[in-house]
């Protein structure tokens, strides 16, 4: 169980990071807040083992770079996801290989650690397999935008911040990625409004 200094419970991320410049140990609060959700996202893309390493690296890098963080940004989530995304880039080929394997065989090659769950793997349905193949064929930048929105639940603005790209670029990449997925799935109504 994690006990948190009372005065920090309600502090925004920006305040936490700012105070960590004088009291470095305060940075650990960000780990408590975000490590698991960042891990879940990275694990969905690259599997548990790589996620374990990348999450550790993400927070180390964030700590070393904390002086560059704009304290006016009360949520550090986009910043942390951005660091994780950069670290994931070196594993792009592995990610695409996993997705193609899922498309080809219907079995997800990202194994679950046995200590966490016993899962009877059901073969992926046709749509899941098609989706996996379409994801593998997306340019990395489009895939990053798409999955930050769909899996990390970042807003368009947060995604732009995470990837350090204009908001308009987020919209265009997302539009392009969704169109490709729709085409792969058999071309649903392309004029349907985005949610």
């Amino acid at each position: 169980m994690t006990a948190v200094d009372a005065e920090l419970i309600e502090a925004g991320d920006g305040e936490i990071i700012r105070s960590s410049l004088d009291e470095p140990e305060r940075f650990a609060v960000l780990f408590d807040r975000y490590a698991r959700q960042v891990h879940r996202y990275v694990s969905r893309r690259l599997g548990t083992q790589l996620a374990d390493d990348i999450v550790g690296e993400t927070f180390l890098i964030a700590f070393r770079r904390r002086e560059t963080y704009d304290p006016a940004r009360t949520l550090a989530r986009p910043w942390l996801y951005g660091i994780a995304t950069t670290l994931m880039a070196r594993h792009r080929r592995s990610e695409e290989r996993f997705l193609r394997a899922l498309q080809r065989t219907g079995t997800d090659p990202l194994p679950e650690p046995m200590a966490e769950t016993v899962v009877r793997r059901v073969a992926a349905g046709a749509q899941e397999r098609t989706l996996a193949g379409a994801l593998a064929r997306l340019p990395r930048g489009d895939r990053d935008v798409l999955l930050l929105v769909a899996w990390a639940d970042l807003s368009y603005g947060e995604t732009a911040q995470a990837l350090d790209i204009p908001l308009g670029t987020v919209r265009s990449r997302l539009h392009r990625a969704r169109r490709r997925l729709r085409e792969a799935l058999g071309g649903a109504d392309p004029t349907r409004e985005e949610n």
Partner: protein
């Protein structure tokens, strides 16, 4: 159902970060935070963050910060050619010049200042050499006051030199705790790895899928590559609780049983995990035991 909704369902059932992985990542962060490069901009010493609580005899791989006990205390230093130990404000700081030197020497030095820290150099799988793979708090030597916490942080070996300078920070009621630290070294050919366990989430042999195969197929594939097989049995429940244990090396499951996990046992042996069935052997005395 639109493509975003379908996409949100893809891999939505991934397991959460394991407690072990979370503690290991936190320990790395805390080692960075308490290291010399992270000194605060000003020399202020405010109230330190209570990060976590360690209790009982549970094995932990973590590092926490604690509230200092009382006011400043006199420094108690110890130094020899191999290491230096300083105490101040309720915290011990240990600097070892080369952890791969004589660990027995360190134990004697710790004893002189009243600390019980057992530093062990253990053979590990590739990529884990020069890393602290486990920090355990054993049963205490005395009683710990209610509500008090203890902390232990230790750095990995730097990658840019053969020796291993190590920094440890211990605070709280450190004298009443017994600590065991495992530091990885390169294993000799055939030497058993100390860090083998289920739940690594990856195949042990690059390019070879073992998980999900029959025991017959998996052992044949390993044999083709000149690798031997050891077996563990798991008694995991659907909610993830339970144990996995080592069995007598001479035991072999039937060839049709499925491999549910696999990890490196040594440079020439892979451990295959199978789920328990009636009639399976029980753990051998002193066996590896993972889980609850």
């Amino acid at each position: 159902m639109d493509e975003i909704t379908l996409l949100k369902e893809l891999r939505a059932d991934r397991a959460a970060m394991s407690a072990r992985a979370e503690e290991a990542a936190r320990a790395r962060l805390m080692a960075e935070i308490t290291g010399p490069a992270a000194a605060p901009r000003r020399g202020t010493r405010g109230r330190r963050l209570v990060f976590g609580a360690l209790a009982g005899t549970a094995a932990v791989t973590t590092a926490v910060l604690v509230v200092p006990a009382l006011g400043p205390e006199p420094l108690r230093d110890y130094a020899n050619a191999a290491m230096r130990i300083e105490r101040g404000n309720g915290t011990w700081r240990v600097e070892i010049k080369d952890a791969y030197a004589d660990p027995g020497e360190f134990g004697r030095a710790f004893a002189k200042v009243g600390l019980d820290i057992d530093l062990r150099i253990v053979p590990v799988s590739p990529r884990r050499e020069r890393r602290v793979i486990q920090v355990m708090m054993k049963e205490g030597r005395g009683s710990v006051p209610e509500g008090r916490t203890n902390s232990f942080s230790v750095s990995d070996c730097p990658a840019d030199r053969p020796e291993c300078p190590l920094t440890m920070t211990v605070s709280g009621d450190a004298e009443s705790m017994r600590w065991q630290v495992w530091l990885g070294r390169e294993a000799r050919p055939g030497e058993r790895y100390a860090d083998g366990s289920p739940g690594l989430g990856r195949e042990p042999v690059p390019g070879l899928r073992l998980i999900g195969r029959s025991v017959r197929d998996a052992t044949a594939l390993l044999r083709e590559r000149g690798l031997k097989t050891a077996f563990h049995i798991d008694e995991f429940q659907p909610d993830g609780s339970g144990t996995a244990y080592e069995v007598d090396p001479s035991w072999r499951p039937s060839g049709g049983r499925r491999v549910t996990d696999a990890w490196p046992f040594s440079s020439d042996t892979v451990t295959l995990l199978v789920s328990s069935r009636p009639g399976d052997p029980k753990p051998v005395p002193g066996a590896d035991l993972f889980g609850d």
